[in-house]
Symmetry: C2
Subunit: 383 residues, 2 copies
Amino acid sequence: MGPGPSDVHPRVLQAMGRPTIGHLDPAFVAMMDEVKQLLRYAFQTKNALTLPVSAPGSAGMEACFVNLIEAGDTVIVCQNGVFGGRMRENVERIGATAIMVEDAWGTPIDLNKAEEALKAHPGAKALAFVHAETSTGVLSDAKALCALATKYGALSIVDAVTSLGGSPLLTDQWGVDAIYSGSQKCLSCAPGLSPVTFGERAIDVLQNRKTKVQSWFLDLTLVMNYWTDGGGAARSYHHTAPVNSLYGLHESLLMLHEEGIENSWARHRLNSDALRAGFAAMGLKPLVADADHLPQLTALKVPDGVDKPETRRRLLENYGLEVGGGLGDLTGKVWRIGLMGQSSTPAHVILCLSAMEGTLTDMGANINPGVAVPVAQKILFSD
Amino acid sequence: MGPGPSDVHPRVLQAMGRPTIGHLDPAFVAMMDEVKQLLRYAFQTKNALTLPVSAPGSAGMEACFVNLIEAGDTVIVCQNGVFGGRMRENVERIGATAIMVEDAWGTPIDLNKAEEALKAHPGAKALAFVHAETSTGVLSDAKALCALATKYGALSIVDAVTSLGGSPLLTDQWGVDAIYSGSQKCLSCAPGLSPVTFGERAIDVLQNRKTKVQSWFLDLTLVMNYWTDGGGAARSYHHTAPVNSLYGLHESLLMLHEEGIENSWARHRLNSDALRAGFAAMGLKPLVADADHLPQLTALKVPDGVDKPETRRRLLENYGLEVGGGLGDLTGKVWRIGLMGQSSTPAHVILCLSAMEGTLTDMGANINPGVAVPVAQKILFSD
C-alpha cells in the first residue's frame, strides 16, 4: 500500500509468465492491437497515437517532452510536488526554457497563476502539469488547465501516472493534447510500461518539427511504425517490445474493461473516503484538504514524537504492509498510503487502519483507539 | 528460433509471475545486489557501474551514447549491418559527429580501416562498434578493436546485445570502456531490459561532462544512486524499477551462473556447428564465412525461386517455428536463424533442419534430402 507499485492480480501475474513469443509474431501483433484499443478505453480517447512506451513512466514523460518540445521553445511547468520538478529537468535538457509556476506542496495547481503565466508568455509551446501528484496526494483540475492551454494556443502535456484508471480522466472531452501514465498504479500491472496518447494537435506539432527528436529510442515517429494499425506489411521493426510485460498490461486493461472504468473510479473514491474517515476518527491528520485529495493516495501527517522509519519497519515486518515515506520537502513529515487498482479494496482499508492503530499505539502515539475500523466499515458497507 | 527473443525457460517465466513488491522493499533491494553481482559475472568484469537499464537494448545503446558523448564530439562508428546505423543515429541526435567506417554486410569490421579512421581523427572521443551483428550473424574482433581505441586515446563503446552469454566476451581483459546488451538473446530472459557496464575511464568521462546528460531517464549519474552498492540510506529513488522483469533477469542470470559461462559459450558453438553442417549437407549456403560466423545466429541465403514469406509462414504454422527475415539490404535475401540461450539445444538444431528440409522440399527447392540430420547428429553426439 505504498505509492505504487500496487498489488498485481494473479491473472496479471499469470499472464506475465506466459511463454515468450516473437515481437513480430502474428499472435503477438493481434494482441498489440487489443492493447491499443483497451488503452483508448482507459484514456477515454479515440486518438490514433495511443500506445505503451516500452519503459517506466519517467520514460513516458520524456517521450512527451522530447517529441513535442524543441530547443528554444518555452514551456510553462506547474509544480506542486516532486514530479513537476522532473518535468522541468526534461524541458531544460532539451535546451528549452521552463517557466515555473509554483504552488505549495499539498495544494492543487492554482488556475489563476497558470493563466497569468500563459498571458505573460504568449508564445509558450506547452503548459505541462501533473494531474495527480503522487508525492503529495493532490488532484489538480486537469479539465480547466487544458482549457486554459487551448485558450492561449499552447499544447497541454499531462502527467496521469497515478490518475489513469483511478480518477475521472476524459482525454478527448477535456481536450488533452499529450498525456502519459504508468502501468503500476491504478492499472495494477507490474511497473515498466508507460501508456501515452497524443491528440491531433500534438501529432501536427510532431510532424512539423524542425529538428529530429533527440532520443532515438523514444522517437514516436519511428515507434508508431511498429505500433501501426496497418497490417503486417505496414509494420516495421523499431525495438524489441517487452513481450511479457505487455501480456501483463493487456490482462490488466481487460480487467479494467470488465469492471467498467466508471465503477473503478467510484471504487477508488469509496475506499479512500473510508480510509480517511478512519484516520480522522483515530485523530490522525491528512496533508491534503478533503476537496483536493486524491482517492488513490493519502498523505498522512506523521504524529509528533513518533519514530517514522521504525513505524514503517514494523508495518512491513509485522503486517507485510508497505507504506511510502515523504519525498523532497515532505521527507520525514508524511506517510504515503496507496489505495490503487487491486490495492483499493475494503480489506486493504481495514488492514491498514488496524495495523496503523496497533503500531502507533505500541509506539506511544496519542491516538483514539477502537473507533477507526467501525467508522470505515459504516462508509464501506452502509447500503 | 528467430533473432531474439529466444525461448524463455519455465524457471524464468515463473519468476516473472511472482507477486510484485515495492522497488524499495528490502527484499527487492537485496535481489538488486545479486543482479549486479551476476551481471558482473556475465560481463566478466569487476566494474562498479554494472546494472540493467529499465528498457530494451535500444535504450541501453542510447544510455551509453548520451552519457559519454556530448555535442561537438567526434565518434568513429564501424558499420557492417543494421545496428551500426542505429549507433550513427544516436551520435547525431546528440549533436556530435559520426565518422562512419563501413564494411560489407556479412563481413566483420576491418581492423585496418578502423585504425585508419582513428589515425585520421586524433581527437575522436570514442570508437563504437557491434560485437555480434544480429542483422547478419557476423562476429567482429572486439578485443582487437578495443585495443585500437585505447591505443588512440578513444573510449570503446561496444554493442553486445547478441554476444553476451553466447560468445566469449571478457570486458576487463579486453579493456572495454562501455558495453550494453539485451535480456532477450543469449540470457534467455524476456525482452525489456538492457544490461550495461562502464569501466573507470568511462566513469571519468561521465563525471567530467561539461553539460547535463540529455536524457533524464537514462542519466546514469542519477540511475546509479538507485542501484548503489551502499545500504538503504544511500539509495535514492530515481524511477520505479520494472520489478517483475528484474525477477526474470535475476533467474536467467542464476541459470547462466549454474551452467558456467564457458560451458554456455561451448554449447552455443557446438549447436551452431551442427546446424551449419546440416544446412551445408542439404545444399544451403550461409551468408557468413565459417571463420566469422556467430554461433548464436546463422543467416542463411534464400535458395533461388523459393517464396520466402510463404516458407516462413509454413514454418510457423506447421512447426511453431519462427525464423527471422533479412533487414535493410538483406531484406528478401536471407533467413536469420537463432540458436540463442535456451534455444540453443540439440533438439532445436534437429527440429530446424527437419522442418526446413520438409518445407523447402514442399516449396520445390532443389536440396539434398535425408542427409542434414545425420550430419548434425554426428557433430552433436560424436563423443
